[in-house]
Symmetry: C2
Subunit: 273 residues, 2 copies
């Protein structure tokens, strides 16, 4: 596989950063992750919006202008020639002379991997709730300390993913947004102190044509009374949740509104193919 490191497209095996990079020294950086379907990037402009926004929020300079980055992304995607894939754009604090302050030039890395999205409408997962608020919630930083640290706990509890809540206020999963269906058949997603996903944005946008759908402050109490739950992300699209902290939701299968939304979203992204 080819990767981009700053302005060079090189083989992945050769791609490395010197140890003075601020990601290695201080975990400092941001990234974004998009998918390609049939060789074409999906929601590219949204991901670039968020990439530059994360960089800006974390005070990281980006030497590539948006059109330059776009061109290089398209060249890389073309060169790797994968139909369905994930593309990750990482931006680090660069080679910091003092190992602490952001360097005048950040490092940019683009990697791509073969990746086929699950489109099985029967699949569902279990969540484990956990009290935690992501730092710099609206930026997609490299900080996954808590999520990675919790992986063995997740296995122990027999859950598949984590749902963060901040002292009872529902937030998000480490790599996905959270939705629930309430007793009024409203489809609701957490509003504040989260990373606003690109998939989430599109669900809110296209979903509003056929469904009662909105963002709102949600609590653990809303979760207890939810009729249906699902999560959304670039790699998961819409993924039903049928278990929370060991408790089975409804009959343990994806609910009717989740199914209807999944079907619509699948058509929206894949054009009915």
């Amino acid at each position: 596989m080819y990767v981009l490191v700053n302005d060079s497209i090189i083989s992945e095996d050769e791609a490395a950063l010197k140890i003075t990079d601020l990601s290695i020294q201080r975990g400092y950086g941001i990234f974004d992750f998009l998918k390609t379907v049939g060789g074409k990037p999906v929601f590219l402009e949204d991901h670039l919006d968020r990439f530059y926004s994360s960089a800006d929020q974390m005070r990281l300079p980006v030497k590539l202008k948006r059109n330059e980055l776009t061109d290089l992304l398209l060249i890389l995607i073309d060169k790797n020639n994968l139909a369905d894939s994930g593309v990750r754009i990482t931006l680090t604090g660069g080679y910091s002379p003092d190992g602490f302050n952001i360097a005048s030039e950040s490092n940019i890395i683009v990697t791509q991997q073969d990746f086929v999205i699950n489109r099985d409408f029967e699949k569902s997962i279990g969540l484990m709730t956990y009290d935690y608020q992501r730092q710099f919630a609206s930026a997609k930083t490299l900080d996954y300390l808590k999520a990675i640290w919790l992986q063995p706990v997740l296995k122990e509890k027999g859950a598949d993913d984590i749902l963060y809540h901040d002292n009872g206020m529902l937030r998000e999963c480490p790599r996905a947004n959270f939705f629930l269906v309430n007793d009024k058949d409203e489809i609701l997603t957490s509003k504040s102190n989260i990373l606003k996903g690109v998939t989430r944005k599109h669900i809110l946008k296209f979903g509003s044509q056929k469904f009662k759908i909105d963002e709102r402050e949600l609590t653990m109490d809303d979760l207890r009374h939810a009729k249906e739950v699902f999560i959304s992300s670039t790699t998961k699209n819409i993924l039903p949740v049928t278990k929370i902290d060991g408790r089975v939701l409804g009959d343990g299968t994806p609910g009717p509104l989740t199914r209807a939304l999944m079907k619509e979203f699948d058509t929206y992204v894949y054009g009915g193919k």
Copy 2:
């Protein structure tokens, strides 16, 4: 300068990590930092204790046993042949196959830099308080997002370092511990939810022979009434603080107890040289 990367001592210019390392992908890793004085490591066993404790807390395997790491550290220090220096031991999540879970082998990097400690007893600094609680407080993780992000704010406010408090409970500086002297001439340092520094430990230990010194839960109110303030770290030893959020403490020079403690500590570390 020579550095250690896993089991090889190589030139710093050649030292790199592949981009699949979990520090670059997810900011996941820990480190420790010690100094050498006259070519000899200072408080080496304390730093190794904390290094292995941080690794353990963050579930990171260390392939080097303690005696193996010690031997390699001493070989590196000998080879670089610096009198006064800083030595950093970094441990990352390794080359993660899925870019998310900790690899079965972590990566270890040891770097060394020329570094002479300030022993000017007249120097003092100003602190800016900031509401923040470090994640995984008792492990020395790579997570310096907040501290690095705050650097321009620090400059704007004309302060030299940050004092974190968690909703009014005093904690620590990003890279140093915090002490104050109260109106009973007690020298107190924050007790909970902090990284317990090696210098802090030794100040508490040797200081208790001549001073009223202890760890305690401290509040912003204690800070407002403090007669003297100082911070401690491997690179700073004891560093007086004479300004907090723009307010000058006392006559703006290091206080008598701070000075007395500094003198004792200097003798303790440098043996009166």
